[in-house]
Symmetry: C2
Subunit: 334 residues, 2 copies
């Protein structure tokens, strides 16, 4: 099916030739975010950066999905509450709105459902939804923002996660060199990147990494031709379904901004993109690429780095006398 | 001396009357930052936000001096490498360029000298200067920036701390309502704030909290009329000099943005500004203020919240294959 559609696209391309404003390819450009409710996005941005949604008062969404670093923490596994080691690599939040579901195993249907997870996860923010909502409800500027955006006097976790999700939807990265090339600017990417993209299609990477996010739209088994050897105990989708056929099925990660989201794979075991490309070709496609091919493919992957979301560091409204205090150290626990 | 100068100012004020563009007071407005080397400031900003200056790859200057939260962490004592509890409350970096010296005990002469401390402090970023410099030297964009700004191919800790300090010098907060009032806009602050300011001068707070930073320009004993009771073992300046006369002498903190820099005092023991005002009046001046006075003084202190530094979240250049990897968990240590 993949081969067919590539063929069909090739034909239509040669017809359209230079007149076409946009190439027909298995990868489509990222569309810029359309903001319909700026106040909601602004509120979500504050919440994303607010460490008071954690028990310690120290960890925010941005701690593990650092928007200065491609929306990830660039660690093999995350540091959570009390310096606990997380179970799995932190995926980027960039373009996560394009995912068919959230988390490596897809256990959250959408961004709003996802956002409730980390706040109450004892390994991550270590808090509870009630306590987090209690903190927000004690801060008049937050109360006012929720009133303005949701027309309600009572904040619940639903508005909190909705606002965060709405902010996350703005975290798309359009206008990558590769997108400029897709849109007809032949000089936007190097000859190496072009050769790498050709190879990316030819060897079959696009079977799993396609669409605007170059991934994010299917679950696939990691290790089709060779087993993926790892210490990490994650089972993938099988952890949810209990079905042995789902063992080691993970959501195919987006390759958008993959230059920034090292280390790679669900266990964060590979730091270099070249290594990740080599692993993929061998394990998923039974192909051993040579050094030049790997280098070309890496050049292509780097052309997927788009415009990073740019906005002013958000200002957080101060706590009040009524705000429950953070509990950074256990000995201070109630 | 204080009384004399206040008197002198009062006289000159009544002469200048409404013609004066700026009132003569023991507190002067904050001047906006003058940026002479924008590239250096930009580099310093990246370094301030870069967690790769820490052993774990997780903690940046901004972790403990969060510019979304008044340049502090709003915790009694900071969370450092491996979730270690810091020894003392984290002061704001806002307006810290106005301090006569850095740290509660003044042990660093200036911002550049200060900036070397946390990187190599095992309780804070847990790294070494050599390793931090090694990380930067492995990242071509950083190498280029240091080349552009310092005209050198060899990064040393001196350029790193110089750039950070240059960024910190831009973290001033001009145009607070109180400054607008000082500059002649009578409506910029409330009647309560005006009454609070009058009281602030009358009872003698300005003896220690004066100048543009409303503090930061002298070391003073904490607990003059009554002892300050605390579990915190910090000795203040005596920790440096060994002189018993210096026991419990701390740098007088700036009261600029004090609304944002809770909890208060070197041990972070007081969360509410009203309580801090009460403690100060009793311990430093032997005065018991009534509720209305405290409320007025707090209204004045809140009028010292200035324009917070506003800039886009900095983008950090990605690590390379040559970049030493972070060591977030000890079991991964070399
Ligand atoms: C302590 C680290 C940590 C914190 C804090 C954290 N996350 Fe995550 N995040 C992770 C990890 C690890 C995963 C992957 C978990 C999994 O797939 O099982 C993840 C997954 C996600 C995903 C799914 C991305 C994808 O492609 O599947 C989104 C979206 C996300 N986080 C957003 C958030 C938001 C919003 C917050 C704050 C409310 C937050 N995260 C807080 C570490 C963290
Ligand atoms: C059969 C499906 C499939 C094919 C074909 C495939 N991939 Fe993947 N890719 C995945 C899955 C699943 C993962 C996540 C695996 C994991 O983390 O354990 C992944 C992960 C990656 C990653 C790491 C992304 C990250 O952020 O961690 C890169 C890079 C990558 N693939 C590139 C490629 C390249 C290049 C090819 C072709 C040579 C390719 N993939 C072929 C399914 C596939
Ligand atoms: C783990 C928490 C933590 C980190 C990380 C941290 N600081 Fe600090 N900072 C503190 C604490 C606590 C103090 C007060 C220490 C003292 O006075 O003994 C302080 C003091 C300061 C001061 C002095 C302010 C004053 O008024 O005296 C400045 C300036 C400063 N830090 C800047 C930085 C910079 C720049 C970095 C990064 C290179 C940094 N800090 C990293 C916690 C931290
Ligand atoms: C004799 C000197 C002196 C006088 C007078 C004085 N202060 Fe202070 N002030 C200090 C010192 C020193 C500290 C830091 C003490 C510590 O942290 O242990 C401080 C701290 C504070 C703080 C907490 C700031 C922070 O960020 O932690 C506030 C608020 C404050 N003073 C307000 C006042 C008010 C209001 C008055 C008058 C009622 C006053 N001060 C009078 C020396 C003084
Ligand atoms: Ca990763
Ligand atoms: Ca100097
Ligand atoms: Ca404080
Ligand atoms: Mg929904």
């Amino acid at each position: 099916m993949l081969k067919l559609s590539v063929l069909a696209l090739t034909v239509s391309m040669s017809v359209a030739a230079f007149a076409a404003p946009q190439k027909n390819e298995p990868i489509q450009p990222i569309e810029p975010a359309v903001v319909t409710d700026a106040a909601k996005v602004e509120l979500g941005k504050q919440l994303f950066f607010d460490p008071r949604l954690s028990k310690s008062g120290f960890i925010s969404c941005n701690s593990c999905h650092n928007l200065s670093m491609g929306g990830s923490d660039n660690l093999p596994s995350s540091i959570g509450h009390n310096w606990q080691e997380g179970p799995i690599n932190s995926p980027t939040v960039l373009n996560s709105s394009l995912n068919l579901a959230q988390f490596w195993d897809g256990r959250a249907a959408d961004l709003q459902e996802q956002a409730g997870g980390p706040i109450a996860n004892p390994m991550e923010m270590g808090f509870t939804h009630d306590l987090a909502v209690g903190v927000l409800a004690s801060i008049p500027q937050y109360v006012q923002s929720f009133q303005d955006v949701y027309n309600t006097d009572t904040i619940t976790i639903n508005e909190v996660t909705d606002a965060i999700a709405e902010f996350e939807k703005t975290l798309v990265t359009p206008n990558a060199p590769f997108d400029q090339w897709l849109q007809g600017n032949d000089d936007a990417i190097s000859a190496d990147a072009k050769a790498g993209y050709k190879l990316f299609k030819e060897v079959g990477c696009t079977a799993c990494h396609n669409g605007p996010a170059v991934g994010g739209n299917s679950f696939q088994k990691m290790g089709l031709f060779e087993e993926y050897v790892t210490d990490n105990p994650a089972e993938g989708v099988a952890g949810l379904t209990g079905d042995d056929l789902d063992r080691f099925k993970f959501k195919v990660p987006t390759l958008r901004n993959v230059e920034l989201t090292y280390p790679y794979f669900h266990d964060g075991a590979y730091w270099n993109l070249e290594e990740a490309v080599d692993v993929m070709a061998r394990l998923q496609l039974g192909r051993k690429l040579d050094e030049e091919q790997i280098s070309q493919m890496t050049a292509f992957l780097k052309s997927l780095t788009g415009e990073q979301p740019s906005f002013a560091v958000p200002m957080l409204p101060p706590s009040t006398a009524a705000t429950p205090r953070p509990v950074p150290f256990e000995k201070l626990a109630e």
